[in-house]
């Protein structure tokens, strides 16, 4: 058994560092950007033509939260090549597996995280907006310098949750031919006929990755909480 672990663990870790972690980190980064923009659009009090943008943002969040991630991956990777529009897209949209993964994971994370960020911004007392406005700050200045730093404190634990979920969800990328950790474990299991051992081993590697991330979360929470005790 140790022999199998000794030979397969390096392969799993290599796949982890080459695909699992980059997929998770890059998707989470884009997901956060999408989430922030979406949250700000949905919180905005602008009227008129802006309402269309608000509707699109709301629709996007609804769409990605109400459909399974695996199905989303399949649509983007296997489905989009068939999105053929005469004259504009004669060959559909063909994406590299990794690109399709990044796009899907980013959009999926963005939809969930936008709700987290929206709630966190709403949780900052309205008096903070007023205090910023009273000294003549623009809405953007107040948001950037007063509201977001405080919202981060509220958003950090649920965002860390999203990130940890994302790390594990990248295993679904195996289904769109990305050779990430889970795909590699499947491949090895098919060769050595040790599915229990191989899937348990890959499970432990995921657990190790997320445990490290949990420690990082605790540390970050301490950093953002250090100057805030009770909310006034």
């Amino acid at each position: 058994m140790w022999e199998i672990i000794k030979t397969s663990l390096p392969q799993l870790l290599a796949a982890g560092f080459k695909y699992t972690i980059p997929l998770a980190i890059i998707s989470f980064f884009f997901g956060l950007v999408i989430a922030l923009v979406t949250a700000l659009i949905r919180l905005s009090r602008q009227q008129g033509a802006f309402m269309i943008l608000k509707w699109i943002a709301g629709f996007y969040v609804w769409l990605f939260r109400s459909t399974p991630l695996l199905v989303q991956l399949f649509i983007v990777f296997f489905g989009l090549p068939y999105l053929r529009i005469k004259g504009i897209l004669p060959h559909g949209i063909k994406l590299e597996p990794f690109t399709a993964g990044i796009i899907t994971f980013s959009l999926n994370t963005g939809a969930y995280a936008s709700e987290t960020i929206r709630a966190a911004i709403s949780a900052v007392p309205v008096g903070q907006w007023e205090a910023g406005a009273a000294i003549g700050m623009t809405r953007w200045q107040i948001l950037r310098r007063v509201i977001l730093p405080q919202a981060l404190r509220v958003a950090l634990p649920p965002l860390s949750n999203s990130f940890i979920s994302l790390v594990k969800d990248t295993s679904l990328a195996a289904s769109i031919t990305i050779m990430e950790m889970f795909a590699v474990s499947q491949q090895i299991a098919a060769e050595n006929y040790q599915p229990l051992l191989m899937y348990s081993l890959v499970a432990m590697v995921y657990a190790a990755f997320t445990t490290v991330l949990s420690y990082l979360q605790t540390y970050l929470e301490r950093v953002v909480n250090q100057h805030v005790s009770v909310k006034r």
Binding site: A131, A134, I135, G136, T138
Partner: protein, 248 residues
């Protein structure tokens, strides 16, 4: 500062009814009245945190007609020339005391950082908190926090300071520390408009008293007349006696 025929509705509630008020510079105007009377709404109209539906507002070179949309530029300009102190301080919890005070001067007035810090330190001395620059808001008592908020308002070098029940959240001893600072500002002829429930303080510092009830101005005049035993207005007499607990 002058409001003319201001009307404000919150939903169906008519909170300000054709209100006309003048706030002379260099004076301390104190607004009193029962809760929900509209006095805070008047105060917030002065820095456009509340925008009335109709009426005019004159402030320095600004002339606003509320039946037209108030531009963002005008809002920011008027807020730069006024300071506001809130009942629950509203200090920025993620910034130190010094950063709270220099935020406006540096970010809004674009003052050089060093000059803004020097000025902030002077203001901290003025409000009796010289050594608190590096403290965070959660480390302060309510009275200290409110004095920082006053320093933050003063740092903008505003033409007027608007104070919305600045001591209502404080116990009497802490309240006194804030009232001392405000008395000093009043003595320096800083233009102020204060909403308060503290009648003793109102009597002491006010150059002028305004009594508001149900969105209407029931009194606008000297504190001497307002607090006079022979004030002919029975409603005001009742209000004062309940605020000072005379009949207890």
């Amino acid at each position: 500062m002058k409001l003319t025929n201001i009307n404000k509705y919150f939903g169906n509630k008519h909170v300000l009814k054709n209100t006309t008020l003048d706030f002379p510079a260099g004076q301390t105007t104190v607004m009193v009245g029962p809760s929900g009377s509209g006095k805070s709404t008047i105060l917030r109209s002065l820095n456009l945190l509340v925008i009335p539906e109709s009426g005019q507002y004159d402030f320095g070179k600004h002339h606003l007609d509320f039946s037209h949309k108030v531009s963002n530029k005008t809002k920011l300009a008027i807020r730069r020339e006024t300071g506001m102190v809130f009942q629950d301080y509203n200090l920025f919890p993620n910034k130190t005391v010094l950063q709270n005070i220099t935020e406006g001067p540096i970010q809004v007035l674009k003052q050089p950082k060093q000059a803004a810090i020097r000025n902030a330190q002077k203001l901290l001395v003025k409000v009796g908190l010289a050594n608190y620059g590096d403290a965070y808001p959660h480390e302060l008592s309510g009275g200290q926090a409110q004095r920082v908020a006053i320093a933050r308002a003063l740092a903008m070098n505003p033409k007027y300071i608007l104070l919305d029940e600045p001591t209502s959240a404080l116990d009497p001893e802490l309240e006194l520390s804030v009232l001392k600072v405000l008395s000093q500002l009043a003595a320096e002829r800083q233009s102020m408009v204060i909403v308060t429930h503290n009648m003793i303080f109102a009597k002491r510092v006010a150059d002028r008293i305004i009594f508001v009830e149900n969105g209407e101005i029931l009194y606008d005049g000297t504190p001497e007349e307002f607090f006079a035993v022979n004030n002919p207005n029975q409603r005001i007499k009742n209000f004062i006696s309940s605020m000072t607990m005379e009949d207890l």
